[in-house]
């Protein structure tokens, strides 16, 4: 439904002509996030610079029943910040100020459009950092990190975004500006901050975030170990965890990925390696030295071909180089890929790696792997040629089968990317009707008209619809009423 002239005029009055993107070409920039598979341009993009403008836009849209899609930097991987139903997109990139730095209390309050890395840069010289470090951190916004509850390589030790969010300022689906949580801990009442983080814009739109800052670790030790078999590397991961270490990062690359990376810039991974393990420990010097030694020892014991320890920041960067180039390197293997984000219990890593090889063979697709082994978070890249529709179908089938395998092993469909449009259909794999219905009702408390980011996160499923009643247990019959 095209937006009325009056509506657009009202919107322009709120944010000014410079705060609106109305042209066809202009709107195309906003038609997808980094998951370009899903496209849908909004009818108009509003770029507010103040919180009261956000409130007014939401109220205007609500009155006219126009759907709203919040957007940060558009670097999500799930088809979240795009507009399948059109409507108004609210782009938060102009609201990017640091509102308060409070180092004595180790926290900061920022507008949601602030770029993740900008915050760390603002406090690094005082010895602090903002822990969530998604690969997109140079461009992704903190509001986007909050929406997807983003992770990153170092969340094995530090936790994902939610563990670092103390409070939110949120404009709900009804256009109310509410403050949830805050600098001071333990506010009485339900932990609405906790459920709003990761709600992917379906509760409302976050305008400001209070986050915890951490003291930068004194020492970092990075170790790269290569193995002749991925089972050996998986066992090394289990042994490191069992030895009582919580590395900051514990990343694995498989054979296909190693080859792709070596053919590129040449991180110089051993040619005959079937798996590379990247281990990073950080903390007080004594702890890092002792645990680093022990981790290297474990790798040797599990049959490592080679173990390299970075002696300084230059060497450390070199060890990470290949890992950071992984997604780009895959371009040399195939024109396109489907990226998965499922998680299995860590002890199931060897089993899922075996299963993945079988699935790839069954569907005649190649699967390259680079993943957060420490927490069992897989990132298989299922390669296909998008000029061949039949190959795409096989890739999709392999993708679905892989998800099923992860769930069967006790896992989850997404570890850090989020649900969005991409995985909404997969949630019923993991949740029963009653569970989905509970989520639907939770959303309804914040956004009763379901106008915030419609079609995302919650699946189109009877349990997520009006009037659905989950099956109730039978109670004994008798004359008790």
């Amino acid at each position: 439904m095209p937006l009325s002239r009056t509506f657009l005029a009202d919107l322009e009055r709120l944010v000014g002509a410079g705060g609106l993107v109305r042209s066809h070409e202009g709107r195309l920039v906003y038609e997808s996030d980094m998951h370009t598979f899903y496209r849908g341009a909004p009818d108009v993009v509003a770029l507010p610079i103040r919180t009261d403008q956000v409130v007014a836009i939401v109220r205007l849209c609500r009155a006219e029943h126009v759907p709203i899609v919040p957007r940060g930097s558009g670097t999500g991987l799930i088809g979240g910040a795009m507009a399948p139903h059109g409507g108004v997109m609210i782009g938060m990139n102009r609201m990017d100020q640091i509102l308060e730095l409070d180092l004595p209390n180790r926290c900061a309050t920022v507008q949601s459009g602030l770029i993740n890395l900008s915050l760390t840069r603002a406090v690094a010289n005082r010895g602090y950092f903002f822990a969530p470090d998604p690969s997109s951190q140079m461009v992704s916004s903190i509001g986007g990190n909050v929406a997807t509850n983003a992770g990153g390589p170092h969340c094995l030790k530090y936790g994902i975004t939610t563990n670092h969010v103390l409070g939110l300022e949120l404009v709900t689906g009804t256009g109310e500006l509410v403050r949830l949580g805050g600098k001071v801990a333990d506010r009485p009442g339900y932990d609405l901050t906790g459920v709003a983080v990761g709600s992917e814009g379906t509760f409302g739109i976050v305008t400001a975030v209070t986050v915890r800052l951490l003291h930068a670790p004194e020492a970092v030790r990075t170790i790269l170990a290569s193995f002749a078999a991925i089972e050996d590397a998986s066992e090394a991961v289990s042994a490191i965890i069992a030895a009582g270490m919580i590395p900051a990062a514990l990343e694995m690359l498989d054979e296909m990925m190693i080859r792709a990376i070596n053919e590129g810039s040449g991180a110089g991974y051993p040619k005959d390696a079937a798996a590379v393990l990247l281990i990073e420990l950080d903390g007080p010097v004594g702890e890092v030295m002792a645990q680093g030694q022990r981790a290297a020892q474990i790798c040797w014991e599990r049959g490592a071909l080679e173990v390299r320890v970075a002696r300084d920041d230059v060497e450390r960067a070199l060890l990470w180089k290949g890992r950071k180039e992984a997604a780009g390197a895959v371009g040399r293997l195939a024109p396109t890929y489907l990226l998965q984000d499922a998680v299995v219990p860590r002890s199931k890593l060897p089993a899922i790696m075996r299963e993945m090889i079988a699935i790839g063979a069954r569907h005649r697709v190649r699967i390259a792997n680079v993943f957060h082994a420490g927490d069992g978070n897989l990132h298989p890249l299922i390669l296909y040629d998008d000029r061949d529709p039949e190959e795409l179908e096989r890739a999709k089938a392999a993708n679905e089968e892989l998800l099923h395998a992860c769930i069967t092993m006790g896992g989850t469909v997404t570890g850090e990317h989020g649900v969005g449009l991409d995985k909404a259909k997969n949630l019923p794999l993991q949740y029963a009707d009653a569970d989905l219905n509970f989520m639907y009702r939770l959303r309804r408390a914040f956004d009763p008209d379901a106008m915030m980011n419609p079609g995302k996160l919650l699946p189109s499923h009877p349990a997520c619809g009006e009037g659905f009643r989950p099956a109730r247990p039978r109670v004994p019959e008798g004359a008790w009423i």
């Binding site: 932990d191 609405l192 007080p284 702890e287 219990p345 569970d435 939770l442």
Partner: protein, 439 residues
């Protein structure tokens, strides 16, 4: 809905068995909350029974008050109604434990002690040390979001609860979260259940993140001449590379009670890591203390349980939980002393704080209700400036009638909480009246 008492009881018996349903005076008195007696005490033996018990209570319009060990029953307002006391200690099994995953799934009625015994052989532990010790249930700790000094490093149940199976007001069994250490699949329902006092669902099963036990762990006390000196010491530690497990402030009376000398204030620190790092950490702590003219004194592990005992109120006393800020450690301590001096002069007061968070526990000696309420009000006024809070975590019923034990909740956030409660439990079956704003 008209209810014929005896036949409802029979229906509960059909679900939970003869032993699982008690209506004798002894059992009812044992499960009393704020002097109110439930008509029945029901103790389901499985999640399925729990679900049926709730479905029946819901159909019969009976108010249900869930309980674990009973150690936190003085948290919150007195119940608005109480027909059934729901004893969850029968749900005490370990559902799934694979040490290699460093997670565990347990029924909510399992005790801290039973869980620890199961984990110890694998050198793992649940990184939570709330007051009340080994007999408390994990469900109770989750519902009240209780924590102790270890919070400084590991956070609270909010950071440790990965998945939760709960029973809604109408008996529907619901699962939220996941069984793996990392998941963003759907809304983070476990967060909602932590600290909700069972008002949105009765906790049945919990999947928890565990931690490896450190190789070595040692504790020290740093006696200091004032709360201001304590704050300075804390700020230096927080800003250093020392990585403490606990960093807890204690007032003079607590130190005195555990025979730790007669300093005006003290900060106790524990470090857990590999042996080399503990030794290194000790040296750094000593240097930071020396820079402030203080010494570090080794204390045994029992120091932590001793101080906890010193902070546990006895009959007629009250426990306040104050949320302030690290930068206001000394200001808040002074405000506590002044509020007591002005409103309840002569009443003894014991204080501790999780220093890196600025969250206080305050044991207030027996005083009449009006005076304790006045102390609370004064502190709330003081804390309002920073959006802090003062919650009465324990205290006589009479106190929690004359003053809201939770304190004010911001209107916008509260409207959302009420909408949620109205939707999920419109008949107010679950723990009615006890939570914030009478939810």
């Amino acid at each position: 809905m008209s209810v014929a008492g005896r036949s409802v009881a029979e229906a509960f018996v059909a679900i939970a068995g003869r032993d699982g349903v008690r209506s004798d005076q002894g059992a009812r008195a044992g499960a009393a909350v704020d002097g109110q007696l439930a008509g029945l005490v029901v103790r389901p033996g499985s999640l399925e029974q729990l679900s049926q018990v709730m479905a029946l209570a819901h159909e019969a319009g009976l108010a249900v008050v869930p309980r674990g060990s009973g150690s936190a029953l003085e948290l919150g307002r007195p119940p608005a109604r109480m027909d059934v006391a729901l004893d969850l200690r029968g749900l005490d099994r370990v559902v799934e434990y694979n040490p290699a995953d460093v997670t565990i799934t347990v029924e909510a009625g399992i005790t801290v002690g039973a869980l620890a015994a199961r984990l110890a052989p694998h050198r793992q532990f649940l990184a939570l040390d709330p007051p009340g010790g080994a007999t408390r249930t994990l469900g109770g700790i989750t519902a009240t979001n209780a924590s102790g000094p270890l919070r400084a490093r590991y956070g609270t149940m909010r950071d440790l609860l990965l998945g939760v199976r709960f029973v809604q007001a109408d008996g529907v069994v619901t699962w939220g979260g996941s069984k793996v250490v990392k998941s963003v699949s759907g809304y983070d329902v476990p967060k909602l259940m932590v600290g909700a006092l069972g008002t949105l669902g009765v906790l049945g099963e919990l999947t928890l993140r565990l931690h490896p036990l450190p190789d070595a762990e040692r504790s020290w006390l740093v006696p200091l001449p004032s709360a201001e000196a304590a704050q300075t010491f804390v700020e230096r530690v927080v800003d250093s590379s020392v990585q403490p497990n606990r960093l807890e402030y204690f007032s003079d009376r607590v130190l005195d009670a555990v025979a730790a000398g007669s300093a005006a204030a003290g900060v106790a620190v524990s470090i857990g890591s590999v042996e080399e790092a503990v030794v290194e950490g000790r040296a750094r702590l000593a240097a930071i203390a020396r820079a402030g003219g203080a010494d570090i004194v080794p204390v045994p592990d029992s120091f932590w349980s001793d101080t906890e005992r010193a902070l546990t109120p006895s009959g007629g006393e009250a426990l306040l939980q104050i949320a302030s800020l690290t930068s206001r450690l000394a200001t808040t301590q002074r405000a506590i002393v002044e509020a007591v001096g002005a409103a309840a002069s002569g009443t003894p007061v014991w204080t501790s704080a999780c220093a890196p968070l600025g969250t206080f526990r305050v044991r207030l000696g027996a005083a009449d209700v009006a005076r304790t309420a006045a102390v609370t009000n004064r502190l709330r006024a003081e804390l309002a400036e920073i959006d802090g809070s003062v919650v009465i975590a324990r205290g006589p019923s009479a106190l929690r009638v004359v003053i809201d034990p939770w304190g004010p909740v911001e209107a916008g956030a509260f409207a959302l909480m009420r909408a949620l409660k109205d939707d999920l439990d419109p008949g107010r079956v679950l723990n009615p009246g006890r939570f914030v704003g009478g939810l």
